[in-house]
């Protein structure tokens, strides 16, 4: 993309400073929003086609409109900065390099919905970003951008950072709310949704870092401009994290709805597969999305297009998989992840994730039987519609899609009694430069 909106400071060392941010028009959007009515701001966000960037893709403006306005109690904004989805590493760039864009987003969101307090819930492993964000918050307090009657409105807003004790499940919005309240991250049953009963039982808006960071550009330049940057129902620019054996792994800003092929092949982005590597599969938006094959390379990166083929846009961070990767091992690895991260409330997720990991291990080790494939399909199928949160069902998508797309690899393991792929060692993960 020619003009960088979300990533304009990503290659600068001083982009996190208020001074630099303001030199580039920072906090103009907040000033503009201060002149707008609450309704106007919400309508602008609705019209922008901004979709939640945390994985589920829920239209942001619609979610905003669920926050009750007629209540007396203090309402909360919780920014989901728990970025833990395997293969996903985009939010941290905003947190580290452009925290003011996030804070300005929080300010506008708070103005729009009368949110009194904001928590930025930071993944434990990203603790280094806390200092950066905290410094930025201090700068704002000094300027009067935070605190009482911000930007001449009667809105009060205080922002706090909160470091997660560290668990993938605390990225799930209600697990996160439990975590904020100082309890183990065990997701709540929905409904009620956080918009009605959230943190400390008050109405709470939960949005992803990138979703909130998109708000200032929407207000600054208008919903129409933002929507037109993307495709139908998926507005705006988007951060894509590209990983795998490609020439230029990293985080790139590109329009919503760009094709996977362009992301992979364009020299502006991924630059194609590494020398000698051939694309076998890709996971469009973090490990919880069903795996797709190269014949789907021309798919648009939009929620609708990905759902058409049974996958998901997720976080928009694509993992590319090459021909030397064993899909059984990959599936087993992911199953271990979900097993490790299951909070353990729901029986199907608690015991089903571990069971599938063990069955996949057995197949990978050459101890599998043909019945195991039916067992996996059937058993993980029983997790999908029967749990409190979406962690358990993610495993269903993983196992079903790998079984469905790569049955021959599973069969080969069972028939040969061993894994037909080269063994894997830590050395393979070292960057090329080290060789």
């Amino acid at each position: 993309m020619d003009e960088k909106i979300l990533s304009k400071f990503f290659d600068r060392d001083d982009g996190h400073k208020l001074e630099v941010y303001e030199d580039h028009g920072g906090y103009d959007a907040a000033r503009k929003a201060a002149e707008m009515s609450r309704e106007e701001i919400v309508n602008e966000v609705k019209a922008s086609n901004l979709r939640g960037r945390g994985g589920a893709g829920f239209p942001a403006g619609v979610k905003w409109s669920f926050i009750p306005q007629e209540t007396e109690e203090d309402k909360y904004l919780v920014v989901n900065a728990d970025e833990g989805e395997p293969g996903t590493f985009k939010d941290r760039q905003i947190m580290q390099r452009d925290p003011h864009q996030l804070i300005e987003g929080c300010i506008i969101t708070a103005m729009a919905l009368d949110l009194r307090y904001c928590y930025i819930y930071i993944r434990g492993e990203l603790k280094f970003t806390e200092d950066i964000i905290q410094d930025a918050i201090e700068e704002c307090y000094d300027k009067g951008y935070l605190g009482e009657d911000i930007f001449g409105t009667d809105q009060d807003l205080d922002i706090y950072t909160h470091i997660s004790a560290g668990a993938y499940i605390c990225g799930e919005e209600t697990g996160m709310i439990e975590g904020l309240e100082g309890k183990p991250g065990k997701p709540r049953i929905k409904p009620p949704f956080p918009a009605i009963v959230g943190v400390f039982d008050a109405p709470t808006l939960v949005n992803n870092v990138e979703s909130i960071a998109c708000v200032p550009p929407v207000i600054n330049r208008g919903a129409e401009w933002f929507a037109n940057l993307g495709v139908e129902k998926n507005g705006g620019p988007k951060l894509y994290g590209l990983s795998g054996p490609i020439k230029n792994p990293g985080v790139y800003e590109a329009p919503s709805g760009i094709t996977v092929r362009e992301l992979l092949e364009s020299p502006e982005y991924g630059g194609g597969m590494k020398e000698g590597k051939e694309l076998k599969a890709y996971i469009p938006g973090g490990s919880s999305c069903a795996v797709l094959t190269p014949d789907e390379l021309d798919r648009e990166m939009s929620f609708e297009a990905m759902r058409e083929v049974g996958s998901n846009l997720g976080t928009g961070c694509v993992t590319f998989v090459d021909q030397d990767t064993c899909m059984v091992r990959l599936a087993a690895r992911l199953a271990h992840f979900y097993h490790h991260e299951s909070c353990g409330q729901c029986t199907p997720c608690r015991d089903g994730t571990g069971w599938s990991a063990k069955v996949l291990d057995a197949i990978e080790a050459g101890r599998g039987r043909h019945e195991d494939l039916d067992l996996l399909e059937d058993m993980t199928g029983q997790i999908e519609h029967s749990t409190i949160c979406a962690l358990g069902p993610s495993l269903t998508f993983v196992v079903h899609s790998y079984l469905d797309k790569f049955p021959e690899e599973f069969e080969a393991h069972i028939e040969q009694g061993e894994c037909p792929f080269p063994s894997w060692s830590l050395d393979d993960t070292k960057p090329a430069a080290a060789e």
């Binding site: 183990p184 049953i189 353990g344 015991d351 994730t353 069971w355 519609h385 029967s386 749990t387």
Partner: protein
């Protein structure tokens, strides 16, 4: 009021009714582990999933409120399959050690497995190891491998006792129940967690490995630990009480009972006075009755009615007290009546009362108030003043913790001309028992009341007879006989009948029912315990007969 269709049958229910409750009203018993009618609803076990039309996900019926027009299927193929799967998932890491599990035979997991799963195992993977014997506190032992993590025990300590000892620790299939650091599961109701644990993960130290549950018989009874009168299942095997379990009664104890009360079953078997005694000699009932008749006849001739007295026991059933009243009236011809029983003890806000006697209100009922019954202290005073020469005492309990008063009483007993003790216990062990219900042996420097008695008559416990206790709130609660009288004991109502008959009065009844009719039937209405009639039938069939059927525990 919303209308819901469950398995094609329509029913109108109150607002806020859950699908599980609505289904129960139609007679569908939806299987469940984590749901308990007295606790909050975490909907974590997923056993109760049902299909709701137009909803792609199965829904936990314990949690989902009924909406108007909702169509629910509780027995569809998808639901049946989901139940099977939940059971299979539970068994992935379950040790299946039923042969050595105390819960076997009363385990929800076993029952549901037989009802809904019972398929050939598809499990070949290794199980996660858990703790096998982990004491959570003095009474309760935890087995992490059997635990299905329903969190009933955790919620009990949060919501019922509000003592918050328990929590889940770790995550995923490594999750186990633990106490918070520095805490023990040591509240007055800790053993209720064992009752509500749907599987064998929590066992009571007292009952572990003691008796297979299918060998036991169960009788509806009432705890004698205090005046609350918690309703219990009295589980017994070969004439021995194995344990008490609380029996649901919303008016008295809900689903609970206290730990000290639970241990009072030991009083049925410890320190029992086994045979009638005349002086130091063990005799049979015939000889004891003859001795009673001859000594009492003489005493009645010698001493004025005002020199004769009787100590009533609030440990004894209304039936026994009714006969005591008649005996005092017609045989001893005295109105010198004194209150006996156990001294007061610990109490709390939930169930446990300070009055450790189950039937003080029964005395009030039978004697038409407590005005006619004098305090124990005044008895001792009267005895010391030489006003009382003949004493017939029910039970060996001395209703005071004041050692000086006890000693004065024992000394005064030694000076009596005739002392008859009609008691369950020998008094060679001390009351109160320790926390585990075991009685420390008494310091036997002093003579026991049995030793001091000219005649000692063994009476039976509540487990050995039918009877009625009136609890602190005036609710009359019948209890049933579990086994025949132990040793050579007899129920108090029969002892009085027998003695009365032999003394030339017509005191005995052929059937308890006749006595009951006389006692309850023609009583003045306002003298009656206020809820006597309706509660009598209710506490026998407590399953919330008055309201809609609710899902089982």
């Amino acid at each position: 009021m919303p209308k819901v269709t469950i398995n094609n049958e329509e029913i109108e229910v109150d607002d806020g009714t859950t699908v599980m409750e609505a289904a129960a009203q139609l007679g569908y018993d939806i299987p469940h582990f984590c749901y308990h009618p007295a606790l909050s609803i975490p909907a974590n076990c997923r056993m109760c999933l049902v299909e709701v039309e137009d909803n792609p996900d199965l829904q936990p019926s314990c949690h989902m409120p009924v909406n108007d027009g909702m169509e629910v299927h509780t027995e569809s193929e998808r639901v049946v399959k989901a139940r099977k799967s939940v059971l299979e998932f539970i068994l992935v890491n379950h040790p299946v050690d039923c042969p050595i599990c105390d819960q076997a035979g009363e385990c929800k997991l076993q029952d549901y497995y037989m009802a809904y799963d019972a398929q050939e195992s598809r499990l070949r993977t290794e199980k996660v190891d858990g703790v096998k014997v982990y004491p959570l506190g003095p009474e309760v032992v935890y087995d992490g491998e059997r635990c299905i993590l329903c969190t009933r025990c955790v919620r009990f300590c949060e919501e019922i006792t509000e003592t918050d000892e328990l929590t889940t620790a770790q995550r995923g299939d490594h999750t186990e129940i633990r106490t918070f650091p520095g805490q023990e599961l040591d509240n007055n109701y800790s053993m209720c967690t064992v009752d509500i644990c749907p599987v064998g993960a929590l066992t009571a130290r007292d009952f572990r490995f003691k008796c297979r549950v299918w060998l036991m018989n169960t009788t509806d009874s009432v705890c004698t630990g205090c005046s609350q009168g918690c309703n219990i299942h009295l589980d017994h095997f070969r004439n021995e009480v194995q344990r008490y379990r609380p029996r649901y009664n919303p008016d008295v104890n809900d689903y609970w009972m206290c730990d000290p009360g639970r241990y009072t079953y030991k009083e049925v078997h410890q320190d029992r006075l086994e045979d009638p005694m005349v002086g130091d000699n063990v005799v049979n009932w015939h000889a004891a009755t003859q001795a009673y008749v001859s000594t009492m006849d003489e005493a009645l001739d010698t001493f004025e009615p005002s020199e004769r007295a009787m100590v009533l026991s609030p440990q004894v059933s209304c039936e026994g007290l009714h006969q005591a009243r008649r005996f005092a009236d017609e045989v001893l011809e005295t109105d010198r009546l004194y209150m006996g029983g156990k001294p007061g003890g610990e109490s709390d806000d939930l169930l446990m009362n300070a009055d450790k006697n189950p039937n003080r209100r029964g005395i009030e009922y039978v004697f038409g108030g407590l005005e006619a019954v004098d305090s124990f202290e005044s008895l001792v005073d009267a005895m010391e003043a030489g006003e009382i020469r003949v004493l017939h005492m029910m039970n060996k309990h001395i209703p005071t913790t004041d050692d000086a008063l006890r000693a004065r009483f024992v000394d005064a007993v030694a000076d009596l001309d005739l002392f008859v003790l009609q008691a369950m216990h020998r008094g060679e062990m001390v009351f109160p028992p320790d926390h585990r219900g075991d009685f420390p042996a008494a310091d036997l420097d002093d003579p026991t009341l049995v030793e001091l008695a000219d005649i000692a008559l063994p009476s039976s416990s509540h487990a050995e007879q039918d009877g009625t206790f009136v609890n602190e709130d005036g609710i009359a609660q019948p209890f049933s006989q579990s086994f025949k009288p132990l040793y050579n004991s007899q129920p108090d109502w029969q002892i009085f009948g027998r003695l009365g008959d032999e003394m030339g009065h017509s005191l005995s009844y052929r059937r308890l029912a006749d006595l009951r009719e006389e006692m309850f039937g023609d009583a003045e209405d306002d003298a009656k315990p206020k809820t006597l009639d309706d509660k009598q039938s209710k506490s026998r069939a407590p399953a919330d007969a008055a309201t809609q059927p609710t899902p089982a525990e």
